[in-house]
C-alpha cells in the first residue's frame, strides 16, 4: 500500500451548479503535494469535500487504503487562518493543545504529556516565547505557526493544509517549508493548497492542477509546464511571462 490518498470521481455541486467535477487522483506516501489553480477553482472545496467538511455529490476518498473516517485520526487538517475567530479567549499553548483533543477522548482533560508535546511543537515552530500570548496579539505569521504546531501534535499520517503561506512574512514562510520537509522526512504526506506559482517547483514534489476540473496531477517536473498552466489559468496567465516560468 503505497498510496497515501486516493480520490475517485469526486464531484461537488452548490445549487445544482458543479464546483468540482470528477476529480480523481492519487497521492503517493511521503511526498509534498501542491494543489494549484486560479481563484474559484475549487481548491479549498476539494480539501473540504475530501474531509467531509463539505458535502460531495459523488465520489470516494481513501486515506492510507481505507475509506476516510474522522475518528481514524490519520488526517491532520490546517484550515485557512481566516476561518477561526482570533478574538477567542485563549492563548497559543491552548490552541496547540487542541491538536491533542482527538487523542484524549471524551470528558478527559489534557495530561502533562499532552502539554509537553504542545510545548515541544511550539518550540519547533519557533513560538515558545509566545506560548502564553493571547492569540489576537499574534501577527499573521505567528498565528499560522501556532496552527502548524497544532497540526504537529495531532501526529497524523496525512496532512491537508489550506493556504498556509498566505499573509505570512518571509521568515515564517521559510519556517513552514522547513517543517513540511521535516514531516516528509519522517514519512508523512502533506497536501497543500498553494497560490504562489513561482515557488511550486522549489517546494513541492507533486502537483495537482485544478480549475473546477482536474487539468493534471503528477510529479511537478512533468505536470508543471507552461502548456498545462495555460490550460489551468486560461487567458489569465499573462503575468507569468515576466517570471522565470518562461524558461520552462
Amino acid at each position: 500500500m503505497n498510496q497515501a490518498v486516493e480520490v475517485k470521481d469526486v464531484t461537488v455541486a452548490y445549487d445544482q451548479k458543479p464546483v468540482l467535477e470528477n476529480i480523481s487522483f492519487t497521492v503517493p506516501k511521503g511526498i509534498l503535494m501542491a494543489v494549484v489553480g486560479p481563484n474559484g477553482a475549487g481548491k479549498s472545496t476539494l480539501i473540504k469535500a475530501m474531509l467531509d467538511l463539505t458535502q460531495k455529490s459523488a465520489g470516494d476518498v481513501k486515506i492510507l487504503g481505507e475509506a476516510y473516517k474522522p475518528k481514524n485520526r490519520t488526517v491532520g487538517y490546517v484550515p485557512q487562518r481566516g476561518t477561526v475567530d482570533w478574538d477567542f479567549p485563549t492563548n497559543a499553548l491552548d490552541v496547540t493543545l487542541m491538536g491533542r483533543y482527538g487523542h484524549i477522548g471524551w470528558f478527559r482533560r489534557p495530561s502533562k504529556s499532552d502539554v509537553a508535546l504542545a510545548e515541544e511543537a511550539l518550540e519547533k515552530v519557533g513560538m515558545s516565547a509566545y506560548k502564553h500570548r493571547q492569540i489576537r496579539q499574534l501577527s499573521g505569521g505567528q498565528q499560522q505557526r501556532v496552527f502548524l504546531a497544532r497540526a504537529l501534535v495531532q501526529d497524523a499520517d496525512v496532512y491537508f493544509m489550506d493556504e498556509p503561506f498566505v499573509g505570512v512574512d518571509a521568515a515564517t514562510e521559510r519556517a513552514i517549508i522547513a517543517l513540511l520537509r521535516d514531516l516528509k522526512e519522517s514519512g508523512k504526506t502533506v497536501v497543500v493548497v498553494h497560490h504562489d506559482l513561482q515557488t511550486v517547483p522549489e517546494y513541492f514534489d507533486w502537483t495537482l492542477l485544478l480549475n473546477k476540473q482536474q487539468i493534471a496531477c503528477g510529479p511537478t517536473d512533468e505536470v508543471f509546464t507552461m502548456e498545462q498552466l495555460q490550460q489551468t489559468y486560461g487567458g489569465h496567465l499573462s503575468f507569468l511571462n515576466q517570471t522565470e516560468m518562461v524558461g520552462r
Binding site: 474522522p70 477561526v84 477567542f88 495531532q154
Partner: protein, 294 residues
C-alpha cells in the same frame, strides 16, 4: 431562610447559570439565537401546560427544550434556504412567541400564566410558591434553578474541551470526529432549559440580559475561557444582588433593576477594564506602539 434570602439566592442562581451559558453564546457569536430561544420557549411552556394540565416544572422544562430545539432547527432551515440569518431568527421567534401569546389568551386565562408575567418575570412572588424537598420547604423556582445550575456546571466541566474546540474551530473538531452539530444542539437545549428556569425570576426579555451582559463583562476582563466563565458567573451574581437592593431602595421592579445593574457593571467594565477598557485603549493609543515581533 427568610424571604429576602430566597430572592437573593434565586437571582444569584439565574446569574450563575445564564452567565456561564452566555459565555459560549458570546464566543460563538450566537447571542441573537439565545434571544430567539428565550422568547419562543414561552410557546413550550404553554404547550406543556395544555398537554399536562399542570404547572409542574418538569413538563415546562421538557416543553421548553423541545420548542427551543425546534426554534434552532427552523432558523437553520430558513437560513439554508437562502433567507438571511438575522431575518430567519426574527421570523421564527416572533411567530412562535406570538402563537404562545395567542394560546395563553385562548386557553390559559384562568391559570397563573399571563403574558406580562412571562415577559417581565416576578421574582417577588417566587418565595411564596414552595415545594417540599427532602423535608425542606423551598421555593419551586429556586429548586428548579438549583437543578439547572448543577446541570450547567456538569455540562461545562464535563464537556469543557469539546465545547471549546467546537466553538473555536468547528472544522478541526469535525476532522477529529467530534459530533459538532450534536454539541451545538446540546448547547441550545441548555439555553432553553436555563431560559425557562429563569422565566419566573426575570422573564423572557430580561433573561437575555443575563445571558449577554455578564459574559460580555468577562470577555473584556480576561483572555482565558475558564476565567471568563468564572468572572461571568460572578458578575451575574453581583447584578442580581445589587439589583435587588437597588429595587428596594428606589421601590422599582426587581427584575428590571437586576438587568439594569448588569448594564451598569458592563458600563464600568467597558470604561475601566485594564486590558480592553476605554481608558487603557486611550492610553495605549497615546503611547507609541512597540514593534511587532515577526
Amino acid at each position: 431562610m427568610g424571604y429576602e434570602a430566597w430572592i437573593l439566592l434565586t437571582g444569584s442562581l439565574v446569574g450563575i447559570s445564564c452567565g456561564m451559558i452566555g459565555c459560549y453564546l458570546i464566543v460563538r457569536r450566537m447571542v441573537m439565537l439565545a434571544d430567539a430561544i428565550s422568547h419562543s420557549v414561552l410557546l413550550g411552556i404553554v404547550l406543556a401546560f395544555l398537554v399536562s394540565q399542570s404547572l409542574n416544572s418538569i413538563y415546562m422544562l421538557i416543553g421548553a427544550a423541545v420548542i427551543g430545539l425546534a426554534t434552532t432547527i427552523f432558523i437553520q432551515w430558513l437560513y439554508a434556504s437562502g433567507v438571511p440569518e438575522d431575518a430567519s431568527i426574527g421570523i421564527v421567534f416572533t411567530t412562535l412567541f406570538a402563537i404562545g401569546v395567542i394560546l395563553i389568551s385562548l386557553f390559559a386565562k384562568d391559570v397563573h400564566l399571563d403574558v406580562n408575567h412571562a415577559l417581565m418575570g416576578e421574582i417577588a412572588f417566587v418565595p411564596w410558591n414552595t415545594i417540599v424537598i427532602f423535608g425542606a420547604e423551598i421555593p419551586k423556582a429556586t429548586a428548579t434553578l438549583l437543578g439547572i445550575t448543577v446541570v450547567t456546571l456538569l455540562f461545562i466541566i464535563g464537556l469543557y474541551k469539546e465545547l471549546k474546540i467546537t466553538s473555536f474551530d468547528a472544522a478541526l473538531a469535525l476532522t477529529i470526529g467530534l459530533p459538532v452539530t450534536f454539541i451545538h444542539y446540546l448547547l441550545m437545549t441548555m439555553v432553553s432549559l436555563t431560559a425557562v428556569g429563569s422565566f419566573d425570576a426575570v422573564g423572557a426579555i430580561l433573561v437575555v440580559a443575563m445571558f449577554v451582559v455578564p459574559g460580555s463583562c468577562a470577555y473584556l476582563l480576561t483572555d482565558r475561557l475558564d476565567a471568563m466563565l468564572a468572572i461571568s458567573a460572578l458578575v451575574g451574581v453581583l447584578s442580581a444582588v445589587s439589583g435587588y437592593y437597588a429595587a428596594l431602595w428606589w421601590d422599582v421592579s426587581i427584575s428590571g433593576s437586576m438587568a439594569m445593574m448588569g448594564g451598569v457593571i458592563f458600563l464600568l467594565t467597558w470604561i475601566f477594564s485594564p486590558r480592553y477598557g476605554l481608558i487603557s485603549k486611550w492610553k495605549k493609543s497615546s503611547t507609541p506602539l512597540k514593534e511587532q515581533e515577526g
